[in-house]
Amino acid sequence: MSHPPPSPIYTLRGAGGPLNSLHFRCYGEDAPLLFSGSGKGCIHIWNLNTRRTNKVIEGHSGSSIIWVCTKRSKDTLISQGRDMQICLWDLGEGRCDLLDSVWTGSVGFCQCSMLETSPISSLLAFAGQQTEEIKIIELPSKIQICTLMPVAKVGMVMCINLFQPDSCPGPLLLAGYEEGSLLLWDVTQQSILSQVKAHPDPVMCLTFDPTRLRGISGSSEKNLSSWKLDEKNNLQLQGGVTLANPGVSQLCIREDGKLLASAGWDSRVRVFGWKKLRPLAVLQYHTDMVLSVAFSDHQDPRQRLMAAGSKDQRISLWSLYNES
């Protein structure tokens, strides 16, 4: 007899809008923080010890925030909003000053992807003004490195993931498009390395595990599609999982590579074993679409958390499979 599914250990209310993006920052000496970007244009910074908001940043003139992230090195927060701006915030010593902003011109929902190449510089990929276009700039110099435009008609770019594999000198970029294709770009060559049709519908989200060179993508249908990157940088479909209800908004792999979480449109968070994609749990707490899911980066594995943000304006926090 299997155990009944767990309940959230606590929930955070008061974001005042759908929660499009979640990001943990729990390493270091400071109190563990959770950043959330809401549909009402607010970035909430939650203190996970007191379970209250530390601060609320309203910086995108009321437009929906679709992505939040912090840089590892400094107290820098990056947020992306539907007002076509990417903003950099300085959070050091209790400040919250706008450092810089980048105009993207993208009207879509594609979340940015950031790759820190050195302690001071990093690469940021985002969807550009034209629907298929992906731009990559270097931060903090804001120099545009390249623009990636597929020749074939694949539709709007839906989701991107920038990573640095061990085998290649330059970074690679995975991008999912409206037509259901996944493209692997070589950023330095600005060329397509591989293309695969992963879904019949738009690719809504993807996540990639650079250590195992495996990734998974979700769509508006019932199937998650899993794929692998071989030695020659070819994408190969590996099958996937079928869900009970269609639609996935976000996928996230835990840092130790054991768990995969999916944020479902059916208001459920599903947890899988990442190795074999074995279903492990179906978490039912939210009353509306789950929009985002994230695993914390606690150094002590026993404290690790998973957060899920939903359209019902609540964030639920879960402690799963932390024993080992």
Binding site: S2, H3, P5, A244, G273
Partner: protein, 835 residues
């Protein structure tokens, strides 16, 4: 002179033997040892001439032995030493002509009462068998050297030979030696026969025998025939057949001997020998079927078309035997024609038992699989004719199993006949039976030479092993490439319970009955229709008042509803909703349904639905309900348990009947275990039973354009009668039961010999339920003469119906009827006698 000497020889022998025997009979014992030696010397070649010896064996041997048996109790016999007894007394039995010795021994065993003398005779008989005297016996008949041969003697001897274990067992009871048990005796006899046959072969080749002698196998054949006729064929042929088939394979002489053996088997035992032989192995009879009419009849007709008790293996053997030889192939084709006719015959489909039909189907498939392509081409048109006719009659049947068999056979035949794409393809459920039928088309089983097949398997075995080992070798290299075989897999993470993970629906179910009805009637939204259908049953039950207002309208809507959106469990849901309506607002809904049953423009499915709903409603009404909450739960459970199509399943009614019989049977131990908490509740069905029942009895004989109950729509008729039977059965203890019973018996009387067994089953079920539910005092009073006609009819069915279910139902009805009548006649308190 010659004659004179022979006469004097015979006289001298006679005189000497007489003197000896007189001496033995007298009590004077001093000379008896020498006398015995004298007698024994007649059996030795050394001491007497051939003529004298022959004279003794022919005329005096039996007499001598009989005298010896009569003196067995004499003092001088007891005074003999063990050695003397063995060398003189016993030897006389064991060296003389074996047939006479055996007869005398068995006679003695029959006459003697249990004593040491009996033991002595039994020991000699045992020795007789152990010394291989049986072989000598058979061989002596083969070469014609048996001294005394008359038909009577021969018949007696055959009887004794074949019944020796029985004779022994009758006399000795438990103290019997294992040698006399059938398991040892018959193989011994079989090996004796084999030896006799072998000697015959040697004689034919002229080995060991200086001069050619004539051999006759008649006696061995007769023995074999007798043995098989008495039912010992299995044991005997199990010992003989392998050896015979091994010998006949390469040896011409053996073949001839063998065929001769089977040819000279008497006519009346031919069938038994053949069937026993077919069960063992068939390669040794040669072309017997071509020469012997009886054998031909048994093999080509009786085994295939008249009997159906044998396993599939026997069919394989028989047909394989026919197919194995060029001369016999015309017979195979002839057989195939007969089988085809039998299979396609519509009357056979209706009137023969299911088991036989299955048997014939197997035979058909096997023989078709044995045909060569050329023969198939010649037979094509006939096979096609058979296929078409047979398919039609099989698919017409209302028994699921017959339809299934028809479909499988049709598929196999069409795929065998046509290489093109014009194959038949049916949808049926795979079960053991269909799989077996399908497997018959692969020509794997029969191969005449058994040892060859053994060799083949031996040769095959290493091959398969090597294949397996290759496979084993190839698998390990694959393993490392498997990415999932990492040591730290997901397995350490135990999954949580995920049963809650169901599909979510977008729209909410209707909350009011009228909304539900509205969306069922006019909604185009698949989701809403599905939710409304799901909600209908609980809504109706919860809002009885609202339901009464719209019950008929809603029944109409549900009845005409089609599964437009492919809703999962549509039939069950609709059925549940209609049942709920019929239960909640019983009289109007039943009136509506029963009138609609006979009206125009309904499909058979809809008419069956009406019956199913009525039956389920009646069942639910008749259940006792303690409180309202429970009732809905019970009914929901009931509905869930009922599969949507129960019509094909006779088990269901049988269970009901059996439950009733169980409950009617009084058991003393059960008396106390009656639950004390059972509360009396009003039977909701009793007052309305008539509304369910009587309207359905009207109009059944008025054929409409679209509905002819007594004609082609016998499927509905069967279900109708079965439903009526159920209404009757549920109306037990209701006041109206008596009228219902007599009306029902009247109704089914016209269709009691219907050709469709589903209808007959229904009729018998209805009769059963009449006898169960009708008060016994009314049985005699209301039914009267009809009861006795019914009885005769039931006995007739119980004996002669081809359908096993019908027979058992008839027997059950008879038992019920008798019980009911007996109760009525014995019980003086019954109201009918008072009045």
């Amino acid at each position: 002179l010659q004659r004179n000497t022979s006469v004097s020889d015979s006289d001298s022998v006679r005189l000497e033997v007489s003197a000896c025997l007189r001496c033995l009979s007298s009590s004077d014992s001093s000379r008896n040892i020498t006398v015995l030696q004298t007698l024994l010397s007649y059996l030795d070649e050394a001491s007497h001439g051939a003529a004298q010896r022959a004279q003794f064996s022919r005329s005096h041997y039996s007499r001598t032995l009989r005298v010896l048996i009569t003196t067995i109790e004499a003092d001088w016999v007891h005074r003999l030493t063990a050695r003397q007894r063995e060398e003189l007394w016993d030897a006389l039995f064991l060296r003389g002509p074996p047939e006479q010795a055996l007869l005398v021994l068995l006679e003695a065993i029959g006459e003697l009462s249990p004593s040491t003398s009996l033991d002595h005779v039994v020991t000699i008989t045992e020795k007789f068998l152990q010394d291989g005297r049986l072989t000598n016996l058979l061989w002596s008949y083969c070469v014609g050297s048996a001294q005394s041969d008359s038909p009577q003697l021969r018949e007696t001897l055959l009887g004794r030979l074949s019944a020796l274990p029985d004779i022994m067992a009758n006399k000795l009871h438990h103290n019997i030696s294992p040698l006399f048990l059938p398991q040892q005796y018959y193989p011994l006899l079989a090996s004796a026969m084999l030896t006799a046959l072998q000697r015959t072969c040697q004689a034919l080749r002229g080995q060991h025998q200086p001069d050619n002698i004539n051999c006759s196998l008649a006696f061995v054949s007769q023995t074999l025939g007798k043995l098989c006729l008495q039912g010992h064929g299995g044991l005997v042929l199990a010992a003989m057949a392998p050896r015979l088939s091994a010998c006949t394979r390469s040896d011409m002489v053996w073949q001839r001997v063998c065929w001769k053996l089977f040819e000279s088997i008497p006519q009346r035992s031919m069938e038994c020998v053949l069937t026993a032989l077919v069960l063992a192995v068939s390669g040794i009879v040669g072309n017997l079927v071509l020469r012997n009419k009886k054998a031909e009849f048994v093999i080509t007709h009786k085994l295939l078309l008249l009997q159906y008790k044998y396993e599939t293996g026997v069919l394989r053997t028989v047909l394989g035997y026919l197919a194995a030889d060029r001369d016999r192939r015309p017979l195979l084709i002839q057989v195939l024609r007969c089988i085809c006719q039998a299979w396609a015959n519509p009357s056979a489909v209706k009137h023969t038992p299911m088991e036989q039909q299955l048997y014939v189907s197997k035979a058909l498939l096997l023989s078709v699989s044995l045909l060569k392509d050329q023969e198939l081409q010649d037979l094509r048109s006939e096979l096609l004719q058979c296929l078409l006719g047979g398919m039609q009659s099989h698919l017409d049947s209302s028994v699921l199993r017959i339809r299934c068999v028809g479909m499988v056979v049709g598929e196999c035949l069409s795929s065998r006949m046509d290489n093109a794409d014009t194959k038949l393809k049916f949808e049926y459920e795979q079960d053991e039976e269909t799989r077996e039928l399908l497997s018959l088309m692969t020509p794997s089983g029969w191969c005449e030479p058994e040892s060859e097949s053994l060799q083949e398997t031996k040769e095959l075995a290493p091959n398969t092993c090597s294949v397996a080992s290759q496979r084993r070798q190839t698998t390990p290299p694959l393993a490392p490439t498997d990415p999932d075989s990492d040591l730290d897999s997901d397995d350490e993470l135990t999954p949580y319970d995920m049963t809650e993970d169901q599909e979510v629906s977008q729209t909410s179910p209707p909350r009011y009955l009228r909304d539900c009805l509205e969306s069922l009637m006019s909604s185009e939204d698949a989701m809403r229709v599905e939710l409304s259908l799901k909600a209908a049953d609980p809504l109706v039950r919860r809002n009885a008042f609202a339901a009464r207002e719209i019950s008929v309208q809603m029944s109409k809507v549900l009845l005409h509803m089609e599964d437009k959106y492919n809703i999962q469990g549509f039939l069950i849901l609709r059925h549940a909703a209609m049942v709920a309506l019929a239960v909640t607002d019983c009289i109007p809904v039943t009136q509506y349904l029963t009138t609609e049953f006979y009206s125009l423009n309904y499909s058979l499915r809809q008419r069956l639905d009406m019956l199913e709903v009525l039956v389920a409603a009646a069942q639910e009404l008749s259940l006792p309900t303690t409180d309202k909450k429970n009732s809905s739960i019970i009914s929901a459970l009931d509905v869930a348990e009922l599969p949507p199509f129960q019509g094909h399943d006779p088990v269901h009614w049988r269970q009901v009947v059996e439950k009733r019989i169980q409950s009617k049977t009084r058991r003393i131990s059960k008396g106390a275990s009656q639950p004390a908490t059972a509360k009396a509740t009003p039977n909701r069905y009793a007052p309305v039973a008539g509304y369910f029942f009587f309207p359905l009895l009207k109009n059944y004989d008025k054929p409409e354009v679209t509905f002819d109950l007594l004609g082609s729509d016998h499927l509905v008729l069967g279900r109708l009668i079965h439903s009526l039977g159920l209404f009757m059965h549920l109306a037990v203890n209701a006041p109206v039961a008596a009228q219902m019973g007599s009306a029902l018996l009247d109704f089914v009387w016209t269709v009691r010999y219907h050709t469709d067994q589903m209808v007959r089953r229904g009729v018998l079920f209805a009769v059963c339920s009449v006898f169960l539910s009708m008060p016994s005092q009314n049985l005699l009073l209301d039914l009267g003469d009809m009861l006795f006609e019914t009885r005769t009819w039931l006995t007739d069915v119980a004996e002669g119906d081809p359908d096993a279910d019908c027979r058992s139902l008839a027997v059950q009805s008879l038992v019920l009827l008798d019980k009911s009548l007996k109760k009525q006649l014995k019980d003086p308190q019954s109201p009918s006698l008072e009045s």
